[in-house]
């Protein structure tokens, strides 16, 4: 068999896929049939096992005639090097448009943070310290600070909102798969418009703040949590429950946004609660209020057609 020759050569590179293969094989015959190539499955799972054990470096191909040819070995090596080169190029170019490393910061969350943040979104009244802690000029990752914005909750909230909207539309007998796409794109469009409007107003009022666009995206995405709570309550318990829970979540998001944005947008003195006169601070206060007030409006606008 040719495999003895190729085993040592390929052992280093193919070690990772082999571990995956072995664990999938341990799952039983159903697992191996899920991951095996169907071209060799005609001989049954028995020979599939022996094939895998005889040639573990086959990388998932039970048809061993593919690898016995040295030309195809060369082709595979060339193809994999080409793929890695292409991947490097894509990574490098993608990093120019979408800052991937900055995005990774927003997804550095853990379960405790998510739990605390969700609780804060629904009940922000007991929390006292809203400052984001810094660590040598860079903000601390969300894992270590409840007040830091993240993108995990907004992303999950958005997806859950679309699914719950599909469910709600199904109870009204209005569901079709295209509607999911329509809902998703329209909610996304509203989100983008809101972020652009906030960016424009921040530019016009010349606020010197360290709020980035992604921060604003995160803050705008937090309202999906309240929307989901409202819609689920409406589905379970009827319209009065929907209105009550939506009202609660609207007030909670309003307070949350004001307390979070106050520290970022207003000057030091005004943020501490002391009344500071002056047109500039008043304008910034109006700006904070309007950003916070836009959240309940959107929450109602995007969900009321779901509960009829």
């Amino acid at each position: 068999m040719d495999y003895t020759a190729t085993q040592s050569g390929f052992r280093q590179r193919k070690l990772q896929p082999n571990m995956r293969l072995r664990t999938s094989l341990v799952d039983g015959s159903e697992g191996s049939q899920l991951f095996e190539d169907t071209s060799g499955a005609a001989s049954g799972p028995q020979t599939g096992y022996s094939n895998q054990q005889a040639g573990p470096q086959a990388a998932g191909f039970p048809g061993q005639s593919i690898l016995s040819d040295p030309m195809s070995n060369l082709a595979m090596a060339y193809g994999s090097s080409l793929a890695s080169q292409g991947r490097e190029m894509v990574d490098k170019n993608l990093d120019r448009f979408i800052p991937i490393s900055k995005l990774k910061y927003y997804f550095a969350v853990d379960t405790v943070y998510v739990g605390k943040k969700l609780g804060l979104l629904v009940f922000p009244y007991m929390h006292e310290n809203w400052e984001v802690s810094y660590q040598q000029d860079t903000p601390v990752a969300p894992r270590f600070d409840v007040n830091a914005p993240d993108l995990y909750i907004p992303a999950m909230g958005f997806i859950t909102y679309i699914l719950v909207a599909g469910l709600a539309l199904g109870t009204q007998n209005k569901f079709s798969p295209e509607l999911l796409g329509v809902q998703a794109s329209s909610a996304f469009v509203w989100l983008i418009m809101e972020v652009l409007a906030v960016l424009l107003s921040l530019y016009l009022v010349t606020v010197n703040t360290d709020l980035t666009t992604i921060d604003l995206l995160a803050f705008s995405g937090y309202k999906y949590v309240g929307m989901i709570v409202g819609v689920v309550a409406g589905l379970l318990f009827g319209r009065p429950a929907y209105y009550l829970s939506l009202l609660w979540c609207c007030v909670a998001i309003f307070v949350f946004m004001i307390r979070t944005l106050r520290l970022k947008l207003l000057s030091e003195a005004a943020a501490e609660g002391r009344l500071v006169r002056g047109a500039k601070n008043q304008l910034r206060m109006y700006l904070t209020m309007s950003i916070a007030a836009a959240q309940p409006i959107f929450m109602y606008w995007l969900t009321y057609h779901l509960i009829r």
Binding site: V189, L204, V205, T206
Partner: protein, 89 residues
């Protein structure tokens, strides 16, 4: 299968259309013939170099920068839009 009411039928394409229309609207505001009549000309904008330019100066700067930056891309995008609308309705 009925579609939703009109406000919900926002797609990403309509967002692109809105963006193109708004940028066109900002780009056609002419300095001499129009904005100066309102006291929004070039000479009115660049005034205070203090720490607070004020809203009017910011808007004027925004209009001027949109006109300068987006002039050529708008030509390209508008031509593409015209051709596509002629071909596909």
């Amino acid at each position: 299968m009925e579609l939703k009411s009109f406000y919900m039928a926002f797609t990403l394409y309509s967002l692109i259309q809105t963006a193109i229309l708004c940028t066109n609207a900002i780009a056609v505001l002419h300095e001499e013939r129009f904005l100066s009549k309102f006291g929004w000309g070039v000479d009115h904008g660049v005034g205070g170099f203090g720490d607070d330019p004020g809203i009017k100066a910011q808007i004027l700067t925004l209009i001027r920068s949109v006109r300068t930056v987006m002039r050529v891309p708008l030509i390209i995008v508008n031509s593409a839009c015209i051709v596509l609308l002629l071909l596909f309705g």
